[in-house]
Amino acid sequence: MIVMINGAAHEVADGTTVGQAVRALTAATTGVAVAVNDEVVTRSAWETTTLSDSDRVEVLTAVQGG
């Protein structure tokens, strides 16, 4: 199936979790937050939340600003 991770299409296996999607980008586990289809997925739910085809995954962190 195809999921969008930070705006880029990724081919991933069925049953891929949010945690696996995050690790495709970064090894960091702190200072990072995830939304799937505009809903926050808390860190404690990363490994138990599986993605579906066409899901939009946003992985955010803090940058300089404001």
Binding site: L25, A35, V40, R43, E58, Q64, G66
Partner: protein, 251 residues
């Protein structure tokens, strides 16, 4: 101790720094140290796997509290989601709420800002909204449960100073939450003026990070905020139309 208190939390510095615009994390680090700030904004963006070093490391090393903002959001819905992501990523329920109306002016959208503020307060956030210099909106946001109000002096990054001091004074007069002058500061005298007008704190970034010597400007801002605060507390003399001799008039 003349402390700034926001939502029950005490700060001995009344200068809140932003981190935007610094040419490097090293320059930012030096400027933050020189400013004496204890509260500093960051933005939330898509994680860049190629990025090296993090602004969060700098803040952690300096023991500075992080204040995530919702910069770049155009709607209340975007801002609420960004605030929730920031809470998840950074472990803070504080948010500088910023919902802008358009890219050209970056002026805050009052309708979307108020909508987002109500939703975030209901969700347990400590909300510090960035607003125009509008006394009526400031009052409404305070009534809605915001922990502070942050009126602009002038558009973000413009360095135009405080364009409407009278409105800032009206906001200060009516507010019982801290008033933080945000945006538009160009140089030290602007920051001093904000404090002389009765603001409780000043938030600035560009004026320091894009100065020729950021560290030196950060020190200047620290001194200006302190001087403005003291002058406010000391009480300025009334303005007079004509001279009043300060020496005895007869020899």
């Amino acid at each position: 101790m003349d402390e700034l208190i926001i939502a029950g939390e005490k700060f001995s510095s009344r200068l809140i720094m932003g981190t935007g615009g610094a040419p490097s994390l090293d320059v930012l680090d030096q400027a933050l140290a020189a400013s004496g700030t204890e509260l500093t904004t960051v933005a939330m963006r898509r994680l860049d796997p190629a990025a090296r070093g993090s602004v969060l490391d700098v803040l952690r090393r300096r023991g500075i509290k992080v204040l995530p903002n919702t910069a770049g959001c155009f709607t209340a819905g975007d801002a609420v989601l960004t605030a929730r992501l920031a809470r998840e990523a950074l472990g803070t329920n504080w948010v500088k709420l910023e919902v802008i109306a358009d890219e050209r002016t970056l002026l805050p959208d009052p309708i979307e800002t108020f909508d987002a503020a109500e939703r975030l307060v209901a969700d347990g956030f400590v909300v510090l909204p960035y607003i125009g210099d509008d006394p009526a909106l400031a009052r409404r946001l305070e009534q809605a449960g915001c922990a502070a109000v942050m009126p602009l002096g002038a558009p973000i990054g413009s360095g135009l100073g405080i364009r409407n001091p009278h409105s800032i004074e009206l906001i200060v007069e009516a507010a019982s939450v801290p008033v933080i002058l945000d945006a538009g500061i160009g140089t030290a005298s602007d920051a001093a003026l904000a404090m002389e007008l009765g603001c409780d704190a000043v938030l600035l970034a560009t004026a320091v990070t894009r100065a020729r010597r950021p560290e030196l400007m950060a020190a200047a801002m620290k001194a200006a905020v302190a001087a403005g605060r003291m002058a406010r507390q000391a009480g300025r003399i009334p303005r007079r139309r004509y001279a009043e001799a300060s020496s005895p008039t007869t020899p």
